[in-house]
Symmetry: C2
Subunit: 343 residues, 2 copies
């Protein structure tokens, strides 16, 4: 493999001159520059990433920590990963993907050994064990997901409170007065998925203000449990005319549940989910939803992270906590509640 020494020799210059000719960090005569470039081409020279990292303390790699836990719904995660990966590449960075169960160990490994210039954390919990480590690391970090303590990192998340209010309001305005909210499974919430609470609490507050009855239930994150959960929910609340689904697995299972019960949306039941458009297309979900914008969040996180890495934002400058406003994508699954029959 050709080194910069080989390039220099072929071009008849010193190594440093070759380096400067390539980086452009010092003036080099046109003659020498073209000779170096020719040598690069004829030798097929590519800089050795390890050597460059050693010399510059820059790896041009971003660490991406994604936890695929037992009770997490994996397909939704893929879109965050792609958003991060594609944006990173646009900005000249590669992605070191870490899916290790033990996130703290992984984070320590890649930051201490300087494999990465910065880190993006997905799936951030309210009290995330990885955060203290990330703050102590030399590399900057960006989160997708809102922890309780945002100090020392840049944070991006959907505005789940606004989402909760919007979901209730949307159905309220259509005339609904009794709703059910299906949330993430217990495990997720317990592990600190604060966004579940944020959406739920805001939804309840809004329901209270509107005089709407809102039942909160948890759904499993796996088949077939979540299907049974949904049946149980519908059995338990026969008066509910609207279903709010803040649980991707439940949303994916809902079509067959409705089918089994002979229900259609919005004729018998209005349904409003919270997932991405890509997700809806993949799973052929016919329900209107609050867009969770994973690609956009991933993109924002990487953009800000790279700004910090490249010093455009000083380490002293305050960290960002930015919420994406929820947008409702109408797929026609909500409408006026059915007329009361009997009573």
């Amino acid at each position: 493999m050709a080194t910069i020494g080989d390039v220099a020799r072929v071009a008849g210059v010193s190594r440093s001159t070759a380096s400067y000719a390539l980086s452009g960090k010092r003036a080099i005569s046109e003659d020498v520059r073209t000779r170096v470039m020719d040598a690069v081409r004829s030798l097929g020279y590519t800089p050795n990433a390890g050597a460059r990292a050693l010399a510059t303390s820059q790896t041009m790699v971003i660490g991406l920590l994604a936890q695929f836990l037992e009770d997490e719904f994996a397909p939704a995660m893929l879109q965050y990963i792609l958003g991060v990966s594609n944006t990173a590449r646009e900005l000249g960075y590669d992605i070191l993907l870490v899916t290790e169960d033990d996130g703290t160990r992984a984070l320590r490994r890649i930051t201490d050994s300087r494999m990465v210039d910065g880190v993006v954390l997905l799936n951030v919990a309210e009290h995330d064990e990885r955060l203290p480590l990330l703050r102590a690391a030399r590399q900057p970090g960006a989160l997708v997901g809102l922890p309780e303590d945002c100090s020392g990192v840049d944070v991006f998340d959907l505005d789940f409170e606004e989402a909760g209010r919007a979901m209730v309001d949307h159905l309220y305005k259509l005339g609904h007065r009794e709703l059910v909210l299906v949330s993430q499974p217990d495990h997720v919430v317990e592990r600190g998925g604060a966004y579940v609470w944020r959406l739920q609490n805001a939804a309840h507050e809004q329901a209270r203000q509107r005089g709407v009855t809102l039942h909160s239930v948890f759904g499993a994150s796996h088949q077939p449990e979540v299907g049974r959960d949904l049946h149980a929910v519908l059995d338990a609340h026969p008066g509910a005319t609207g279903l709010l689904v803040n649980n991707e697995a439940a949303a994916a299972a809902l079509p067959s549940v409705l089918h089994e019960r002979g229900l259609t949306a919005p004729g018998d039941l209005s349904v409003l989910g919270r997932y991405s458009d890509e997700f809806a297309r993949t799973f052929s979900l016919p329900f209107s939803s609050i867009e969770s914008a994973p690609d956009r969040l991933g993109r924002m996180a990487v953009r800000q992270l790279v700004r910090r890495i490249e010093g455009e934002v000083g380490p002293g400058e305050p960290h960002v906590v930015r919420f994406v406003s929820p947008e409702l994508v109408d797929r026609g699954s909500t409408g006026a509640p059915p007329r009361r029959t009997g009573g």
Copy 2:
């Protein structure tokens, strides 16, 4: 950040002694060894990955090239990625995930710059543009997917021919005599997804031998097109009693299509897919299927790749082409064909 020089100084030894104490590659007295270890602990020393890569020409990173093309069904890909990632970590390697559209450019970048010790290619086409580059690279490569020319790389794939035969035979034995096979969309096949042909050709040959009528059709890979495709297929072949689905998007869309037509499996139609069990659970698919074993394939590819990287398999030793035998997972969606009504 502490370097090995700091460790050496604190322990009162030379850098080389510290290095040998840590690597164990030469005998070091017990006394010195513990002093070095204590210094490591008190300084929180971790070796710099770039420096080590430069010195040893080993990065302990594996490149993973996954193409997410417009017409590809993404969720199925995630399981390959996880299989590769988790296995790599078990063996001490990290994953550089590349999702760039231009696979050849990406491959050249990560191999020429020596960012990786080896490469796993997903989504390998029959005539894959990345293969010549991979053969020319210094690093070994492992593929998931069967190209026409397997030279110079280790190859792992499902035995799609056996799968095609098994699918036909399974329904033949239940008494079916007219079947429809739904394949991947045109685009995938044109780009060289040879496995589509392999399964299809083998299925046709088997059908011929059994005296079974087999109609082959292509389905789109996106909603809602694939749903319309499925309706059209069922309209066009009213006599078919069995549906073979070698198309994940079609499988995911099938439940609602059957619902819309008021059909149930296996009562009205026997359905047999080709996807992973994980996929079936995620999408709550109630159809029996040939297991595509993405985690297992990813695992096999990484295992073999690491063997090559670590020299357990010499570069001269013949490369492997290994097929995983398809296994049928029975979810109860196949049975005897319905009685002919009328005539």
